[in-house]
């Protein structure tokens, strides 16, 4: 591992570009933003290439005692690496997606997105609890501006709701963080990960973190800010919100709540399972009834995130790995779906599903991509959605067959609302004149769709590329949770595992452990 501070550089490039965007003209701002995000993406790729799978848990660590009470400490493990990659991959696409759609105050817009990128990278690579909190909370400010300035008609309500809702959750987490620092005497995350908090205290800390992360996630019943925020946000805002910001909650679950409070996690897992089950069924049904495309996808996000939470709290290798893959897959696919909505919204300026129909005739390329992402969202084998959902549901089944049963209905309902959406928008008669006049994808839109589609397929066909860096970290978390883990009700009796691929072994090994306990 070279001593080159690549993480600091990744934080600095978008931050500096953001300042620059404020002072140069609109035209230049677009190019600067695109250049900076692409540069950050290249840096991310270099980092991925350099990442030593199976090496030290924390890599690319940097540490500087700048702030006295807490430190400027950065470092990533496999999970953080993947989520950073997701962020830096989506960012240039978001900039491209708003290339023509944003006409007013472009400099400020680009600056906000670049600040957002810095913050997202910072959240995932912070190794100091306070530094993490600062990044975590800071994300509110640029998103507030993005929704409030460039959003739809009801943008102000949505911006306020987003800001206050998530702030209210976060502040409770701050109190918990203060208590943790007082108890453990350090702000260093790797140390805290192995610190055993008293069980009684864990419960309170867990609840405080849960209050914050459940809102970010968002889990039912505190998800109501999400549809509003998505509907009102500009396309790229929705892409980044669904693509990365929703992952902050799940990241907090697996980074903090589960390894730091294993006993409380085990005690209170029924809350997570209960809320997840309700969310999967309820929000899927709500999605089915939507007439606004963005709202539909927003509710589907809540349902997908519920499978993530259930998968994480299965406390076993498949469940957690599956949840992580859903996070990545949903990051790509939901961003793509929001972009699909954005494409036709730019042409017709409405998100009403009924205003469309028959797009397959005059926009075949668009219909193809939309189909692919719809299938990926449903979880068709061969697409990214399948891998994650299958793995996590298998993991959940081990923990509780009932939860698995209820969550699986989400897949069926997911297929129902997505296919219904697809049918109404893309198939049917092409009767409306203004819809007839809509041209197919432009070169710019192709450039955005193609990489998203490629990644969705790559993740579906060869998920090992994404799973490999995370596997070791998941094993660490599972080991940390093992003493507290309750017995599952599935009583799986594992057959004799053949000494096959490494992945098969670990999966069977942990399922065996789950069955025996």
């Amino acid at each position: 591992m070279s001593g080159f501070p690549i993480l600091s550089l990744m934080l600095a490039v978008p931050a500096i570009a953001a300042v620059a965007c404020l002072f140069i003209g609109d035209k230049m701002a677009r190019f600067v933003a695109l250049g900076a995000t692409l540069a950050t993406f290249v840096l991310g790729c270099v980092m991925w290439a350099q990442f030593d799978i199976g090496g030290a848990q924390w890599q690319f660590t940097e540490r500087a005692d700048l702030f006295g009470r807490f430190q400027y400490a950065l470092g990533i493990d496999g999970m953080a690496l993947m989520l950073i990659m997701l962020s830096v991959f989506l960012m240039p696409l978001c900039i491209l997606a708003s290339w023509d759609a944003i006409k007013q105050r472009v400099g400020l817009y680009m600056a906000m997105f670049l600040v957002m990128e810095t913050i997202m990278i910072g959240v995932f690579c912070a190794q100091d609890l306070l530094l993490f909190y600062i990044f975590f909370e800071a994300g509110l400010i640029p998103m507030y501006f993005i929704i409030g300035i460039w959003g739809g008609a009801n943008r102000i309500y949505a911006a306020f709701k987003f800001f206050l809702y998530t702030l209210l959750g976060s502040v409770l987490m701050l109190i918990a963080i203060i208590a943790m620092i007082a108890e453990a005497g350090t702000t260093d995350i790797p140390t805290l990960l192995n610190y055993d908090f008293p069980v009684q205290m864990q419960t309170w800390l867990w609840l405080a973190f849960f209050a914050s992360l459940a809102v970010k996630m968002p889990m039912w019943p505190v998800h109501t800010w999400l549809p509003d925020a998505h509907v009102q946000a500009p396309t790229a805002g929705s892409m980044i919100l669904a693509g990365v910001l929703l992952k902050l909650g799940a990241y907090g679950f697996i980074r903090f709540m589960m390894p730091m409070f294993p006993d409380a996690s085990a005690q209170l897992m029924w809350i997570v399972f209960g809320l997840s089950m309700i969310a999967v069924v309820y929000t899927s049904l709500v999605a089915l009834a939507q007439s606004d495309m963005k709202k539909l996808i927003a509710y589907s996000s809540v349902a997908h995130m519920a499978i993530v939470t259930a998968g994480l709290f299965a406390f076993n290798q498949q469940g957690i790995e599956g949840a992580l893959i859903i996070m990545l897959s949903h990051g790509v696919v939901s961003a793509a779906l929001f972009f699909c909505v954005g494409v036709i919204y730019d042409r017709l300026h409405t998100r009403e599903i009924d205003r469309y129909g028959g797009l397959a005739v005059n926009m075949p390329a668009y219909a193809l991509f939309f189909m692919l992402f719809t299938m990926a969202s449903i979880g068709l084998p061969g697409t990214s959605g399948f891998v994650g959902e299958f793995l996590s549901l298998a993991g959940i089944y081990e923990a509780s067959s009932w939860v698995a049963f209820v969550c699986t209905t989400g897949i069926i309902l997911g297929a129902a609302y997505m296919l219904y959406l697809y049918r109404r928008v893309v198939f049917g008669e092409l009767t409306k004149d203004d819809v007839k006049a809509m041209p197919d994808l432009t070169a710019r839109e192709w450039t955005i769709m193609a990489p998203l589609a490629a990644v969705a397929l790559w993740m579906g066909v060869y998920p090992e590329s994404f799973l490999a860096p995370m596997r070791g970290d998941v094993t660490t978390v599972v080991a940390r949770l093992a003493p507290a883990k309750p017995a599952g009700d599935a009583h799986l009796a594992a057959g004799k595992p053949k000494p096959a691929a490494a992945h098969g072994e670990t999966a069977h090994g942990s399922s065996h452990a789950g069955g025996v306990q």
């Binding site: 702030f67 990044f135 400010i141 507030y144 306020f160 502040v171 203060i178 208590a179 620092i181 007082a182």
Partner: protein, 477 residues
């Protein structure tokens, strides 16, 4: 005696400088703004230099009635800095109506505040407080032909006199039941059994001081006075006297009442929560930016009291850091308000008129957004850090319910801050034009510097701040 005088150089310099400034004004006329402004600024700079020179000396003077220590020094530096800025910004605001009394009164107020911050006897406490208050009453009504300004002065005077009365009543009770006016002596008696007289004394003293820091329920005067007083004076009220009164309150609570934790802590907790909540709720409907900042100051005082309620050294460190950051933020915010002038050069104070400010004056709007997010305590802006410190102190002092209630109420506060940002950034341009220009370079420099410092740069100063506030707070323990 002479030895004592050598230790109160800052006070001596301010007294002499104040008199010289007054004389200059009298002999050379009010037109010579530069002259008396310069003399007052030099006085403040010299006084600040004297404070720095005396840093590290921990002793008492004049038979233990006044202390010379780094706690007082810390507070005085903040007070002098705020006074300095308030003198610098005045001439342009008064636009020819500037008189030599303005810097003179500020100098005397600063003198009184310095005494407040370093008093360790009920008598010096009262002398300092009244010296500051009397100057402040006059300053509030400085634009004597302006109806709102005179109203503000009168209101401030009547309510201030009432508060002084309560304070004096409390002082007399404390003196009567302890037999001394010395903080250390009072603490000794309070360490024993408390009788009803002592408790009444504590309550009345805290009520009187609560008025000065404008904590709820003694806050009624604040919005009216802030709105009515000339903006540079409001800037002054929102910064320097807050620092002085908060320092005084800290000293009284920790030094004089320290042992009677049970008696004062619940009062402070009540003042704190009431201020946070009422400061936040009251601000929501405001249409005048100065009134709104008044409620914001009430709200922020509530957070400072969270640190004080902890009653620990960590808590006092938090209060001191909070004061510094709050002062810089408030100075910045009021300087922005000062720059808000329409095409005819009139001050604009109405919040709806700020609509679309970000498109007319992007720099100014950005600075204001930084100040407001910072006042709301949203990271990464530096306003987060002092809030973190006071809450940390409260949690470590086993006041978790207070911390939780306070931090949840802070979300209500965030609402009105982001509502102004909404007005400036999301709304369409209002009819009011905000032409550039005329602003002194100093104002722009102060705004830019404090906005930059309050964005992420401030975090780099945490080690320095920690050392300073720790050495200041250690004096009280």
């Amino acid at each position: 005696m002479t030895a004592d005088l050598m230790l109160i150089w800052p006070e001596l310099i301010l007294t002499i400088g104040g008199l010289i400034t007054l004389m200059l004004g009298t002999f050379f006329g009010d037109r010579n703004v530069g002259l008396y402004q310069l003399s007052s600024l030099l006085t403040l700079a010299a006084a600040a230099a004297a404070v720095v020179a005396l840093f590290g000396i921990e002793t008492t003077v004049f038979s233990g009635t006044l202390s010379v220590d780094s706690f007082g020094g810390f507070a005085k530096l903040l007070i002098y800095a705020a006074s300095f800025v308030c003198i610098v910004i005045a001439p342009r605001f008064f636009n020819g109506g500037m008189r030599a009394e303005y810097p003179t009164l500020i100098l005397f107020a600063a003198l009184g505040m310095g005494i407040m911050a370093s008093s360790r006897d009920l008598m010096t406490l009262y002398v300092g407080l009244e010296l500051n208050s009397l100057a402040a009453y006059v300053l509030a009504s400085f634009m004597r032909t302006d109806e709102r300004s005179t109203e503000a002065g009168l209101k401030y005077f009547v309510l201030g006199a009432l508060a002084s009365g309560m304070l004096l009543y409390g002082i007399s009770l404390l003196y009567g039941f302890t037999g001394t006016t010395d903080f250390a002596g009072i603490a000794k008696v309070l360490g024993g059994e408390l009788n009803i007289g002592l408790i009444f004394g504590i309550v009345f003293v805290l009520a009187g001081l609560g008025f000065k820091i404008s904590a709820v329920p003694f806050h009624m005067w604040t919005p009216d006075v802030y709105e009515g007083a000339p903006t540079p004076v409001t800037t002054f009220f929102a910064t320097a006297p807050k620092v002085a009164a908060m320092a005084l309150m800290t000293r009284v609570v920790i030094d004089a009442m320290g042992p009677a934790v049970g008696a004062w802590q619940q009062i402070i907790i009540f003042l704190s929560l009431a201020s946070i909540i009422l400061g936040a709720v009251g601000a929501i409907g405001q249409k005048n930016i100065k009134r709104l900042l008044a409620y914001s100051s009430i709200n922020n005082v509530g957070f400072m009291l969270v640190g004080l309620a902890a009653g620990t050294q960590q808590g006092v460190e938090g209060v001191l850091t909070y004061l510094l950051v709050y002062m810089l933020t408030t100075l910045g915010a009021f300087l922005v308000v000062l720059q808000l002038r329409d095409a005819d050069g009139n001050q604009v104070e109405s919040i709806p008129a700020l609509a679309g400010l970000s498109q007319r004056r992007p720099g100014l709007a950005a600075a204001m957004a930084v100040f407001l997010f910072s006042l709301a305590g949203i990271p990464p802006l530096f306003g987060f850090w002092p809030k973190y410190l006071v809450f940390e102190a409260a949690v470590n002092a086993n006041l978790v319910p207070l911390a939780v209630a306070g931090i949840v109420a802070s979300v209500i506060g965030a609402f009105y801050y982001i509502a102004i940002i909404k007005t400036m950034y999301f709304d369409d341009k209002s009819d009011t034009e905000f032409p550039k220009g005329g602003g002194a370079i100093v104002e722009d420099a102060v705004i830019t510097a404090s906005a930059l410092w309050l964005s992420v740069i401030g975090y780099l100063f945490i080690p320095v701040l920690a050392v300073l506030s720790a050495s200041a707070a250690a004096v009280l323990f």
